[in-house]
Every structure is written in C-alpha cells, then in structure tokens.
C-alpha cells in the first residue's frame, strides 16, 4: 500500500485555495500512553489541525526542549516501541482522514531498517517523515525508500541556511518545507522573530513547495502573525504542555481541542 503523500499535498493545496495557512500539530506517540496518545492526536485534528506530526520518541532528543523531552521520557518509560508509533499513525489517520507524518531522529529509523520503516509507515497510511538530524547529504537511502512507498520527505531549513543550501535541500524534499523560525530547540517562545519571515522569503525564492513555519509558535496571535507569510503553521510544545499541565486526561484532551480551535482561527486570520 502506498503512503499518503497525495493526501498531504491536497490538504496543503486546499488551504492555499482558501487563502489561509494550514495548521500542523505535533504530539509524540505513547504520550501519556499509546491508547491515550491516539485520543490526544485525534482531538488535535478534531479541534482544527489540518495535518499532524506524530513524534517517535527518542532517548536522546537533542533538538527538543524540556517540554517534549518530558513527554518523550514518559512515553519511553511507558515502553513505547516503534511498532506502537506506526500503529498510532495508522489509527489517527483512520479515525480522521487527516494526513499524518512521523517526526523522529535518524537512529531509530536506521536501527529499525530504512526500507522496513518506510514500508510499514506507508502501509499504516502515513504521509511522510520529518527527520531533522538527517541532513540532505546523508539522505539518499531514505529518499529512495520514501519515494518508492509514496511518502513525503520533509526537510528542515534554518535561519542559518545559506541560499545555495536552501536550493539544494528543497530540491530534494517533497510535501512541504519545515522552516525553523529561530535558532534553537523546540519549545514555546514569547514571540516569533523576524528571522522566520526572512527565511520563508528566501525559501520561496528557490522552491514551489509550501513552506510551513515551526518552533516557538504557541498561541492564536502568533499563528495569525505567521499565517501572514507562511503556508503553514506548526505547533508542538504548546499541545504537549496542555496535556502535561492538565489535572486529568479528559481535561487535557479538552485543552488540546480548545487550543487547536484557537490556532485554527489564527491561521484563517490573514489580513
């Protein structure tokens, strides 16, 4: 069975046709448990996310701040396995029809087997993968497997990326481009800097792919601000924090749904 890259492309195209940004939400699988994680991801989509990224928790999340580190710890201590992550992708997609990507570090994919991972993710209905510590130079094996199985390969670009690298990276990517709004790890920030807008402008100059902005976005106001210049707005830590801060699961799911709704209004607020 082929992966769902087409579903991803058409959701991004539909948002563009509506003259709005797409809303992309992130939560790790297995958090707080595998079953409740599926509920949380589903709630995120029901609340208004167009696309979701399911995190495959890693023991050494060097690009994540304390919030996602905590969630990854909880998931790993709960015994989450790669098979559970793939099942989570499949169940979230089956329940909602939304495109679901996997986001993780390269070592779990390498250890599981590149071809096997792509095949299993595609079979579950996954739309693609974001592998932020796999630079384009090391990505050929993955890209071949992804292409063969109908999966998107979403590369991350950063404010420090020079124009010639942006061209090289985006030429190898599919689905969309993940533009990191700032130099740093995941986590909520007070404001989204001007760096993000400049990076989106430079990225647009070298690719036709949609450009979605992530890192630091946590509320409707920031989502609205980013939606002025980006094709998509990616929110992760703010969702995780809703679940971590909630007194119980049900109120956590409510908070996730509410936040998704607020952000969904934000990405529709182009002036």
């Amino acid at each position: 069975m082929a992966g769902n890259i087409e579903g991803l492309n058409s959701v991004l195209a539909a948002a563009k046709a509506e003259n709005r940004a797409a809303l992309v939400g992130y939560l790790p699988a297995g958090f707080p448990t595998v079953a409740d994680g599926v509920r949380a991801i589903t709630a995120m989509i029901e609340g208004g996310c167009d696309i979701v990224e399911v995190g495959l928790p890693h023991s050494d999340p060097v690009l994540d701040g304390p919030v996602i580190q905590t969630a990854d710890d909880i998931a790993l201590r709960g015994g989450v396995r790669i098979a559970d992550v793939i099942r989570t992708v499949g169940e979230a997609h089956a329940a909602t029809g939304a495109p679901v990507l996997c986001m993780t570090y390269w070592n779990p994919v390498d250890a599981y087997g590149v071809e096997r991972f792509a095949a299993d993710l595609a079979a579950a209905g996954g739309a693609g993968c974001i592998l932020p510590d796999l630079p384009v130079e090391e990505s050929e094996t993955w890209r071949k497997a992804a292409e063969q199985h109908g999966l998107a390969t979403v590369f991350v670009v950063a404010p420090s990326s020079r124009d010639e690298r942006l061209a090289r990276i985006t030429a190898a990517g599919t689905g969309f481009v993940y533009a990191a709004s700032l130099m740093g790890v995941t986590g909520t920030r007070e404001s989204v800097g001007r760096e993000a807008q400049d990076l989106v402008r430079r990225t647009r100059a070298v690719t036709e792919l949609p450009v979605c902005v992530g890192l630091g976005v946590s509320n409707a106001e920031q989502a609205r601000e980013v939606a002025q210049f980006a094709d998509g707005v990616i929110v992760g830590s703010a969702f995780v924090k809703r679940l971590l801060d909630a007194p119980d699961l049900e109120s956590g799911l409510d908070a996730v749904r509410t936040l998704a709704g607020e952000l969904a209004a934000g990405v529709r607020g182009r002036s």
């Binding site: 390269w106 070592n107 130079e137 090391e138 590369f155 991350v156 950063a158 420090s160 990326s161 790890v185």
Partner: protein, 414 residues
C-alpha cells in the same frame, strides 16, 4: 619544533571528504548547525596551512602545558605484568592533569581565529571541562561546561576547579545524568547560540570534522612516545594500550603507530560490573553500529535504536558511543578492544600507586589493568607502552570509598 608538536595525519588515509572512516563517521546534524560545523572545518583547514598557527600552538604546548610529557618505566608495577617491560606515557603530568589540554589549546586557537567569544563544552570526569575552563581563562573567553548531575557529584573536585577558573558549570539532570546527556545539552545550547559560540568538543566522536580535528591535536602523544620508546628501549613496543571512552587519548597514542604493523593497539573499554551483567559502557565489545551525537559508529542501543544507559565507575568512560575511527580500526582489525571491569581497574589503580608512587585517574587505570593482562600474555620479553592519560586526584573520594580508606577498620585500609 612545531613540526613535532602539531602533527596532523601526514598520509591523509582517512577520513574521506565526507568525514567517513570506512563505514563510520559522517555528519548527522540538524540544518541549524551545518553552517557552524562547516565553518569549523574550513577554519581548521586554513589553520593547518598556516605556519603561525602551528608555531603558536607549539609555544603553548611547550611553555604552558609542559610538553613533551615524560616516558616513565615502571619496573615494580611490571613485576605484576608477567615481567614484561612497561613504559607509561605521562599525560597526567600535563598542565591541568590529563591529555585533554592538547585538544583544548588547539580548538581554543581556532575559536579565536573564528572570532567567537564564547565556548561551551561537555565533560564526564571533568578533565575536559577543567582543560576548557583553563584555556578560556587564558584567552579571555566566556565558558560554560555541561556535566551530568551524577558526575558533578563523583567528580566534585573538578567542578570546584572549573568554577575557580571562572567557568559556569551546569549540572544536567536529563537522561542518565552522565556524559551522554551533557553532550545532548551542549548541542541544545549550541543550536541556540551558534553565532558567537564554539562547541569545544572533547573527544574524537561527534560530526565531521571533530573526530579528525581532535585526533590531530592529540597525535602528539604517540609521535612523542614512539620516539621516546625507541630511544629508551631500542625498539618499538609489542603493544600500545590506552583506555577508551570516546577514545581521544587512545587515538592520540595509536595513530603514530598505525603503520607499524608489529605494534598491537589495544583499547581498554569500561566493563563496569562485567559485560555479561549489562552494566557496562563497553561500546565496541557489546555495541552495534548506529548514530549518536552526529556520527555513525558503534553505540549501545536496543533494537529500536534507543540508546541504552551505560555504566562505569569511571565518569570519563561512562559513555554509550565511541569515536568513528575506533569503529573503523576495530572492523579492519588494526586495533583490538577488550573490556576491563571496575574491580580490575581499581586494583590496577592501587597497584600503580603502591608500586610506583603514581596515582592514576580511574579512566587510565583501565589501560593499566589491560597492560597487566597483555603483559602476562607476552611474558618477560614483552615491551608495553601504556598511555597514562590523567592523574587520579579527582578520583580520591571514589577510591577512598571503594577501598574503605575513610574507615580505619575498613578492609581496604590494610
């Protein structure tokens, strides 16, 4: 003089242009760090071609560090090593007390050349942290050192030394709270502050060019030792031994001997409570190829690619990865790696202290324990060279507890 003190691999065998030593190495880093890592590589190439760089580094190594370090024969210790002759390369006598200063001074000069004003580093035993704090004091650079919380406790002396030198020491509370987690936290800092910050990586692991650059700054160990042992013993050793955590002192010793096919290169890994118990950090003995901290090498991991928690009594060796060049040397059969348990290392530490009046670091004691075994295998005609990578002052609390020296009635006090 400078030609003998700064000696990058003259033959350029490995790595290749992408930073691969055979199947190992490479550059698995986030896009946000690509520009900074490329800048380090470019600056290092320029520095290598600049005689002024070699001259400045050589001056520091002689007049600040105290190189060349001594080569000491240890006959009373050698009686316990099957009667083989044993020579120690005394990196413990370097300023700051270990080999780490060799690499730190080189990278501190690179930091200045790149115009960066802040340095971050990870440390396990604190030896790399102390060396980095020292160089930052010397060059007027701001310094932050990440250290696992477990290690800040077992190496408290070095935490105090770093703070005395003006460095900020951050105790890392994530994961296993040891060296691996300190490196994770240093990478997080680097991504956020890369404009003005150099990550002064302390071992021969990490993304290209760090395994090459750190190796080149430590090659002086083997270059000196090879010459010294030829002068003193009249021939090359049968084996050269060093402890391996990330592998910097070992690669520094081994590299000059790579073309000498008659010299066995023996890396001594931290066997902890024994490899069979699962409580160890013997990456090359028990690991499988994977990616950790920016390069492909052997790592301790489960079948899902999750890094497993290492264990060693030695904070400096308590690491689930290994430099990629060691993985390469293992796979091509040029070097051999064996596990040494906590107990074997501690017995060797006490033996050297009591037979020769030299208290080694627990890290280095792993190599001494390896030498006791290899010496017995070789017999009285054997000639061994051991890298004594650091001194043991920092380990006296751990050793005193281990041997019961705080308790007059303790068994170890006898």
């Amino acid at each position: 003089m400078s030609s003998e003190l700064f000696v990058p691999d003259p033959e350029g065998r490995v790595p290749d242009a992408s930073g691969y030593f055979g199947a190992f190495g490479g550059k698995f880093i986030p896009e946000a760090l690509v520009a900074a890592v490329d800048e380090v590589a470019a600056e290092y190439e320029k520095a290598k071609a600049d005689p002024a760089f070699a001259a400045e580094l050589a001056d520091l190594l002689v007049n600040y560090t105290g190189r060349p370090s001594a080569l000491t024969e240890v006959p009373r210790f050698a009686e316990h090593a099957g009667g083989a002759r044993v020579f120690l390369k005394r990196e413990d006598l370097n300023h700051t007390g270990s080999h780490k200063i060799n690499n730190v001074l080189g990278q501190a000069l690179l930091t200045k050349r790149m115009g960066k004003t802040r340095v971050i580093a990870e440390t396990g035993a604190g030896q790399h942290g102390v060396a980095t704090a020292t160089a930052c004091a010397l060059f007027g650079l701001e310094c932050t050192v990440y250290m696992g919380e477990v290690d800040t406790k077992r190496q408290a002396l070095n935490v105090a030394r770093m703070r005395m030198l003006g460095a900020e020491v951050i105790a890392v509370k994530s994961g296993s709270r040891t060296l691996k987690d300190a490196i994770n936290e240093a990478f997080r800092d680097w991504v956020a502050n890369v404009d003005r910050t150099h990550y002064l990586f302390g071992t021969v692991a990490g993304p290209h060019p760090f395994p090459t650059l750190v190796r080149d700054f430590h090659r002086v160990i083997g270059v000196e030792a090879r010459k010294q042992i030829l002068e003193r013993a009249g021939r090359l050793p049968d084996a050269a031994l060093a402890c391996v955590g990330g592998g910097s002192n070992a690669i520094g010793l081994f590299h000059a001997f790579l073309p000498d096919s008659g010299v066995r290169l023996v890396g001594c890994e931290p066997g902890g409570h024994g490899v069979a118990t699962g409580e160890h950090a013997a990456t090359l003995t028990a690991g499988t190829p994977g990616i950790l901290h920016g390069s492909r090498s052997y790592v301790l991991q489960d079948e899902d690619g999750q890094i497993t928690e290492p264990y060693s009594i030695s904070a400096g060796l308590d690491y689930p990865g290994i430099g990629p060049e060691h993985s390469y040397l293992k796979d091509i059969g040029r070097a051999e790696y064996r596990a040494v348990t906590d107990d074997e290392a501690m017995q060797a530490l006490r033996l050297l202290s009591r037979t020769e009046g030299i208290i080694p670091a627990i890290e280095s004691a792993h190599a001494l324990a390896g030498a006791l075994e290899v010496g017995k295998e070789l017999g009285p005609d054997g000639l061994l060279l051991v890298n004594l990578s650091g001194r043991g002052d920092k380990d006296m609390d751990t050793a005193a507890r281990y041997f019961g020296l705080y308790d007059e009635q303790g068994e170890g006090a006898k």
